[in-house]
């Protein structure tokens, strides 16, 4: 698929179907800050799940801390349920090198030992640097390394892609 074909709202319908298939009984959604957290929030509602989806940040486990330092921001992990023994579906907007996922899985383990962790993303843009794959990737695109792709959300809650 070309970048021009990336219509976030229609891809979301695919994600909803994919996550419905991945989620086990008693399982929980955890969105990766920030784009993944928006997606998880909407999935939680559309799947009729009780309570709030979890939000997870990679900040405290990132592997580029010594080069990039701590960014200022409101990135805080909020997991309003037990992780121990639970089936978790991680949700993110874009899967790229896999480094964020590695950091986030470490972060998750600081809260307990989950029964299983699956990954669902809107876009898989290739370029993996770690042995990490998504159980559900709605679309695969090839992008040059110089381009940054991320999800945006407008005031009405509608999704679109930002390419820089």
């Amino acid at each position: 698929m070309s970048i021009a074909g990336l219509e976030a709202e229609s891809l979301y319908a695919g994600l909803l179907a994919g996550v419905r298939g991945l989620l086990k009984p008693g399982g929980a959604l955890v969105g990766i800050w920030s784009g993944g957290a928006w997606l998880a929030e909407r999935l939680q509602r559309d799947l009729g799940l009780p309570g709030e989806a979890g939000v997870i940040s990679s900040t405290l486990h990132r592997d580029d801390f010594s080069r990039r330092g701590l960014s200022a921001g409101a990135e805080v992990t909020k997991l309003p349920f037990e992780i121990e023994g639970r089936h978790i579906v991680l949700v993110d907007d874009v899967l790229y090198t896999g480094r964020t996922i590695r950091a986030v899985v470490n972060e998750l383990y600081d809260f307990g030992r989950p029964a299983s962790v699956r990954l669902a993303v809107l876009v898989d843009r290739g370029g993996r640097e770690l042995p990490i794959e998504a159980a559900c990737a709605v679309v695969k695109v090839e992008l040059p390394a110089s381009q940054r792709l991320s999800l945006a959300r407008d005031s009405a809650g509608r999704f679109s892609f930002e390419i820089r």
Binding site: L60, S66, G69, L70, A72, G73, D110, F111
Partner: protein, 320 residues
Amino acid sequence: MFVRRNPQLNRNDELIHLLSIEGLPASIVHHILDTAGTFLSVNDREVKKVPLLRGKSVFNLFFENSTRTRTTFEIAAKRLSADVINLDIARSSTAKGESLLDTIANLSAMHADMFVVRHSESGAPYLIARHCAPHVHVVNAGDGGHSHPTQGLLDMYTIRHYKRDFHELTVAIVGDIVHSRVARSDIHALTTLGVPEIRAVGPKTLVPGDLKEMGVRVCHDMAEGIRGADVIIMLRLQNERMGGAMLPSAGEFFKTFGLTAEKLALARPDAIVMHPGPINRGVEIDSSVADGKQSVILPQVTFGIAVRMAVMSIIAGNSA
């Protein structure tokens, strides 16, 4: 003209050492407080540790005793997964005549990544920051009568936690202002964050009139000093100042400037009472106030660990 750079900041104006709150932009102070908020939640986890300083060595250099401050720095560094080495300098090489810079050179040869320094001489941490290797970071844990920036920052975190907006607050600092590096750091921080009214309250010997130059209102009358205050910061009355020309006696001080429930009633009903510890019950603060509803003295200690984690992780992530 040659302008001397703030030694705490690198060329991109990022924090590489924490030496004093004076001269720090408000954005950096807010960044530290925001980051501390993140670290506070680490206490709620199954694993109360994050790997940001894994493989780094933090040396606690306390040339002056302070069990509490040293311990909170040690806990903070350990929660960041650093290796912590405590040096009881007062009883080691310096006692044998080694100079400060020789001590630092030797510890650097042991691959130190960060020095947390407490020294009785004002400016000692600056001297160390100027002479250490570029990858080494320095945190001032109190230097003479000059500065105690992490205490100032944890006080700001505490105020922000309970009071939110700095721009409408009246803050009274009570006691031995002139000898207090805590008071000095608090005044700089409160000014930086835009607090409109800062009062320095105490007897003439401990609160000289020229403090006005720091932008504070000087009050030699306790009632005037705390009336309508949102925040009251009590300072520890240092025993060594007692009995001399500075003060007649502890009992005398308590009668005039000690915080009792009756005096606290003059402040706003929702005022908070702070103290950097250790407290002298019945000297600067009455037990009923120290243990009372408005006291936030113990939360200050908890916040202090998160603030020190924030400072150490921010400076460790920036290079010279």
